[in-house]
Symmetry: C2
Subunit: 193 residues, 2 copies
C-alpha cells in the first residue's frame, strides 16, 4: 500500500553504516523492537519516530524517500548533444534533460555582455550553486550584490530573491546546479535559475 519499501530502505541505510538495530535504536532514542518491526514492514512508523531514527543516521526524510529504481538512463553527453535552452540572449545547456526524475539540473551557462535574468528578482523552491569558469558576473542575492570572477562561486537558497547580470563587456561562462530541478523537459519549466 505504501508503494515504497520503507523497511528495506531503512535496513539498507543501517547496514551501510554498519550499525546494529540496538545501536541505531540507542542513538535514535527508540527501542530495538521499533527498528525491527519497521524493517520488516510490520508497522508503518509515525513521522516522529522515523525522524528520530533518520536523524541518527543521519539522513533527512526527504533523502530517505527520494529516488528508488536505478534506471538505465543515458550517462555520457557529448557537447553537441546537450539540450540547448537559450532564448537568443542567454544560453544554457542542460545536462541530463531527458531523465524523468533527476534530482538536479546541471547547466553550462553562457552570459553575453548585457545578459540579465531580469529586474524582478527570481524566487523559487530549492537550492542552487555554481562556479564561474570565465568572465565576470554580477550576482544579487537577498539584496546583497557581488561581482564574481573566474574561480569564484556561490550557493544559496533559491527562495531568496536573486538576479544574474553580466555587466562586463566580455562573455561569462558558469557551470551551475539546481535542486530540485527547475528545468523540465516539457511542461511546467520555471524560469531560470
Amino acid at each position: 500500500m505504501s508503494g515504497f519499501d520503507v523497511g528495506g530502505r531503512l535496513k539498507q541505510l543501517r547496514m551501510q553504516r554498519d550499525l546494529s538495530q540496538r545501536e541505531l535504536a540507542k542513538r535514535a532514542g527508540v527501542t530495538n523492537s521499533t527498528i525491527s518491526l519497521i524493517e520488516q514492514n510490520s508497522v508503518s512508523p509515525s513521522v516522529s519516530s522515523l525522524k528520530k531514527i533518520l536523524d541518527a543516521l543521519p539522513v533527512t526524510i526527504s533523502e530517505f524517500f527520494a529516488g528508488e529504481e536505478v534506471s538505465r538512463e543515458q550517462v555520457f553527453y557529448r557537447a553537441s548533444e546537450l539540450t540547448e535552452i537559450g532564448d537568443g540572449v542567454l544560453s544554457w545547456r542542460l545536462i541530463g534533460a531527458r531523465r524523468p526524475n533527476r534530482r538536479m539540473s546541471i547547466l553550462h551557462e553562457r552570459y553575453p555582455p548585457g545578459a540579465d535574468t531580469g529586474e524582478d528578482m527570481l524566487e523559487h523552491d530549492g537550492e542552487e550553486g555554481g562556479v564561474i569558469i570565465s568572465g565576470t558576473i554580477e550576482l544579487t542575492v537577498n539584496g546583497e550584490v557581488q561581482l564574481l570572477t573566474a574561480g569564484d562561486a556561490y550557493y544559496f537558497d533559491s527562495r531568496l530573491p536573486h538576479r544574474f547580470r553580466n555587466v562586463s563587456d566580455s562573455e561569462c561562462i558558469i557551470v551551475s546546479a539546481n535542486n530540485p530541478p527547475s528545468f523540465s523537459d516539457g511542461g511546467d519549466a520555471q524560469h531560470h535559475a
Copy 2:
C-alpha cells in the same frame, strides 16, 4: 520535537489547492479529524497516513519535507576561500562546505595526469553529474568506458559503480554536482564522488 512544522506545511499545501479538510480527507481515504489533528500538530501521523494524504494532493513525501528554514548562510565564495579537499594528487574545491543541510555538493575538481579514483569502483547513494571544462577524463560507469573532453558532460545514478581517471598527459578540470552531498564538513565524509 519534530523540527519541522508538519501541520503547517500540510495546511499550506491544502490551502493552495483550495480544498477543505473534509474534501482532502475524502480523496485521501482518511477522516477529516485526522487532517485537523495533523494540521494542529496534535499528532505525528504515521507514514502510511501521511502518504495517503500527500498522494491526494498530490505531493511526494520527499517534496513535502524538502526545504524549510531559509538560512542566513554564506552566499558568495571567493576562489581563495573555497574549502580545499585535495589529497595531494587529486584536488577538489567544495562550494558551500559549511552549510549544515545543503542538498548538493558542488565541486571544482582538478585531475592531474594519472589521477584516478581507484580501481575498486565507487558506489553510493544519490546522483551526480558534471561538465568537463578543460582537458580529458576517462569515465567508467556501470562497465561502460568513455573519454570525455572539454564541453562534454555526464549524469548518472551514483549507485552504479563508477571511476574517474585522467589517462592524458595534461590536467583535467571538471565542475560537478552531487546529490545528496557526499562530502560533509567533518566526520564521515565518504570518498569521492
